[in-house]
């Protein structure tokens, strides 16, 4: 479907000639001339402007009434005034109206210091109010959900949160009740607002009406620093800003990247941080001693691990996943293949896939990107549950359906595998194509499609489907795989595969895949397992060496050496998005306890085993 294209026009704002894309909203176009038009309800991420708050009134020559800058598309030759007396009076009065019932509890408000209402009152308000009636008061704050508190005194009814619920998440749980000055934001009959993306409303709120329970009263804006990074809790790899105070993450905010997350963040990504920096973390190297894992020095743990790995040699298997970075993947591949001489490493729980299929799937012309999900004529979601597998993609699919009329088709693996059903599926898709008059189709599929005995057949069927639909020849069409692990694509490309080296290169020797490693370890054919960010498979009595941030039951039972692993806010490195985009994970806080840079740990092991670390 055609992407928006804009020709550049020239308009005049406050006497300044400014170039802007035609039909950009005045509020956005004005920024190109360094003119700020204040807004509350306007948030382009939420879809069409609603013009409710009236903060952005501007004067446009030739139009008698003041117009809302948030909803007026800029045209060539337009002459706009934002500093005239009329506009100033309107701005002053809107601020005055908004403050009629807004409490002045800024000193104890979490939003204080980073509050658009505060800033706009300062910048565009009169500084005085003629409202002398008592303000309304309500019990506050009230729980809206386990993670969100609502303060109805502070609400300025900008509609952002309810628009998010209706038009972005489409969970339709958060609404405005009653009418006029009695309107208030609420849920049905006192039910909590619990939905996969609910936390976004805290960020959308332009006042302190919606606050994050875990963040309440933890810091003021002048206590904190922002650190940009990438959330590696799932393959969606949303871009985030970490709010850091005293080397602790106190909050996670979305960092808008239209190519990745569209500025949204799921609740898991937003509210997992207390645990990531919490007491349950492994903070020291551990060694099994008399049946128990006990803290030991790094030297002791590294020596022990190196000794056991060397002893096992080619009988070591390695599995990587979680937030393991590309660099760690490369170092693991080197440790296994070059230092230990073992080809048994894997990062795909789905298991072995023939190298030719890996390569066919990686064909550059066949790659779809996240924005393609939005603009495609149709998206086939194949053996994939976006909410569970890469939550933020769910919002992108909804956006495509809602705003661009994208046709969404869901299918399971059986439908693809069964030849008769496959034709039916193709028929459905082709029918959809006819109905949407376009051939840009994206297949969003999950790695699990390729798992098990039928896995290869399923992948071949997928490639056939892609060929039938000609996806490789069409711009904006293609395949997008959601891997099982957050950096599944990066690890695959780093060579953490049993049958391929870095960049899907040939290997000298084929190794065992994930299931093969588990089986061989259980049978004692492999005597040592090396784990990066994954749990040990059940069975086997050999040595288990693991990098882990949390001690799971399986590790507690089976691990012999545990290195404390970094949570992503402590990590430095790169990860690869499922659509091939290289993203940088940046260290935001220092290591917790004795945790070390995992790349250094891998290096240290490699050199102990006897392979020089390249400088």
């Amino acid at each position: 479907m055609p992407r928006p294209e804009h020709r550049t026009i020239t308009f005049t704002i406050d006497g300044l000639e400014v170039q802007a894309p035609e039909n950009a909203m005045l509020v956005d176009a004005a920024k190109l001339g360094d003119v700020e038009i204040p807004v509350f309800c306007y948030e382009p991420k939420l879809g069409n402007p609603v013009g409710a708050c009236r903060m952005c009134l501007v004067e446009i020559e030739g139009i008698p009434k003041l117009q809302t800058g948030c909803s007026t598309p800029v045209k060539d030759g337009m002459v706009v005034h934002t500093q005239s007396e009329r506009v100033k009076t309107a701005q002053n009065s809107v601020v005055e109206f908004l403050l009629v019932n807004h409490p002045l509890d800024c000193p104890v408000c979490d939003k204080g210091g980073e509050c658009p209402l505060q800033d706009i009152t300062f910048g565009w308000g009169l500084g005085t109010s003629r409202f002398i009636e008592p303000k309304r008061h309500f019990v506050k704050p009230l729980a809206l959900s386990p993670t969100i508190a609502i303060d109805r005194e502070r609400c300025i009814l900008c509609y952002r949160c309810v628009r998010f619920s209706q038009e972005i998440a489409e969970d339709h749980q958060l609404v405005l009740l009653e009418r006029g000055a009695h309107s208030y934001v609420a849920t049905f009959d006192g039910h909590p607002y619990v939905a996969p993306f609910s936390g976004n409303i805290v960020e959308l709120c332009p006042v302190g009406a919606l606050t994050s329970q875990p963040y309440r009263f933890r810091a003021r804006p002048w206590d904190i620093e922002d650190a940009g990074s990438v959330c590696t809790l799932c393959p969606a790899q949303c871009n985030v800003t970490l709010t850091v105070r005293d080397e602790r993450v106190l909050r996670v905010l979305a960092r808008e990247n239209p190519e990745v997350d569209d500025g949204w963040l799921c609740d898991r990504g937003r509210f997992a941080y207390p645990r990531l920096g919490g007491d349950e973390r492994v903070t020291q190297p551990l060694l099994r001693d008399g049946g128990e894992l006990r803290p030991v020095s790094w030297e002791r743990a590294l020596d022990e691990a190196a000794t056991r790995l060397s002893r096992a040699g080619g009988r070591v298997g390695a599995l990587a996943g979680g937030g393991t970075t590309n660099e760690e993947g490369l170092l693991l591949s080197r440790l296994m293949r070059e230092a230990l001489g073992s080809p048994h490493l894997d990062s795909r729980p789905a298991g072995r896939l023939a190298l030719e299929l890996h390569r066919a799937l990686a064909e550059p012309a066949l790659q779809a990107h996240v924005p393609d999900l939005e603009y495609a004529h149709a998206v086939l979601v194949l053996d994939c549950d976006p909410i569970a597998d890469a939550a933020i993609l769910d919002l992108r699919l909804r956006k495509g359906v809602r705003r661009h009329g994208m046709k969404l088709v869901r299918a399971g693996r059986e439908q693809l595998l069964d030849a008769a059903a496959r034709d039916e599926l193709l028929d459905t898709l082709l029918a959809d194509l006819r109905s949407v008059a376009g051939n840009e189709i994206v297949v969003l599929w999950h790695e699990r499609l390729a798992a098990g005995a039928d896995g290869e057949r399923a992948v071949r069927a997928l490639l056939d489907l892609a060929a039938t639909l000609g996806l490789a020849e069409i711009d904006g069409a293609g395949l997008l795989e959601v891997p099982a692990h957050a950096n599944g694509r990066g690890l695959r490309e780093a060579g953490v595969l049993p049958n391929a080296g870095p960049e899907l290169g040939d290997t000298d020797e084929d190794g065992l895949d994930a299931q093969g490693i588990a089986a061989a370890f259980a049978l004692g054919e492999l005597s040592c397992l090396y784990l990066l960010g994954v749990d040990p498979p059940t069975g086997g009595s050999g040595t288990v060496i693991a990098h882990a941030a949390f001690l799971t039951d399986a590790l507690r039972e089976q691990a012999d050496v545990v290195f404390p692993a970094e949570a992503y806010p402590e990590k430095e490195g790169t990860v690869t998005h499922p659509d091939g985009r290289l993203q940088r994970v940046r260290r935001a806080v220092r290591h917790i306890g004795e945790t070390r840079d995992e790349q250094q740990v891998l290096d240290a092991l490699t050199s102990r085993i006897g392979l020089a670390v390249p400088s």
Binding site: I132, A143, D189
Partner: protein
């Protein structure tokens, strides 16, 4: 200015001071298996849904139907509509609380809307409203409300009794009005708008 207790200016709207009950599940689209809907109500709602190019247009008629069954837009009533229409109850509650004729608290069976807007008020509607309220007392059968302009200023002051317009009313009419309602009789037949001729004498020729 007199001293005002901190919470004295709370809105009359229910809910402002109520937190969410964190023990409850989120209010998603009701499960038909656990949300029984009376057959007649379901049929009526589905009938309305079929009338419109977009079934959502049936929300108002559906809520009105549910209110007729339940007496008011009780949470249970809203859940039933939500179940039939496959919408979240919150979406319907947002609509129900917007409109004056949809009751979101329990009310008496017989509605008496007394217009107290400008024209009726000029003709004594405020006293009339007070008198009807007083006469109805705490009889749970009655839902006496002061209403905005009902579009019958020619019979000011007036009231809409279960949808029937009567006026002009005097304070003396009040006992009869309530008696008629209680007895299930036609309300003040001589004062019903339905029987009133056009004021324009030219229209009669």
């Amino acid at each position: 200015m007199s001293a005002v207790p901190r919470d004295a200016h709370s809105s009359t709207a229910p809910g402002w001071d109520t937190p969410a009950d964190l023990e409850k599940d989120p209010a998603t689209i009701p499960d038909p298996a656990t949300t029984p809907v009376p057959d007649a109500l379901r049929a009526e709602i589905e009938g309305h849904m079929a009338l419109y190019p977009n079934f959502r247009s049936a929300i108002l008629p559906a809520l009105e139907a549910a209110q007729r069954v339940h007496g008011w837009c009780a949470p249970e009533a809203i859940e039933q509509v939500a179940c039939v229409m496959r919408l979240t109850p919150a979406e319907l509650d947002a609509v129900a609380t917007f409109y004056d004729m949809l009751e979101t608290t329990p009310v008496g069976r017989h509605s008496v809307y007394v217009c107290t807007n400008i024209s009726c008020s000029l003709c004594g509607a405020d006293e009339l409203y007070d008198a009807i309220r007083e006469a109805a007392g705490d009889d749970p059968e009655f839902n006496v409300r002061s209403f905005e302009c009902l579009g019958a200023c020619d019979i000011a002051p007036m009231a809409s009794v279960d949808g029937t317009y009567v006026g002009p009313l005097t304070l003396d009419d009040v006992p009869q009005l309530l008696d008629d309602i209680r007895a299930g009789r036609e309300v003040l037949p001589d004062k019903q708008l339905a029987r009133r001729p056009c004021a324009d004498s030219g229209a009669r020729s």
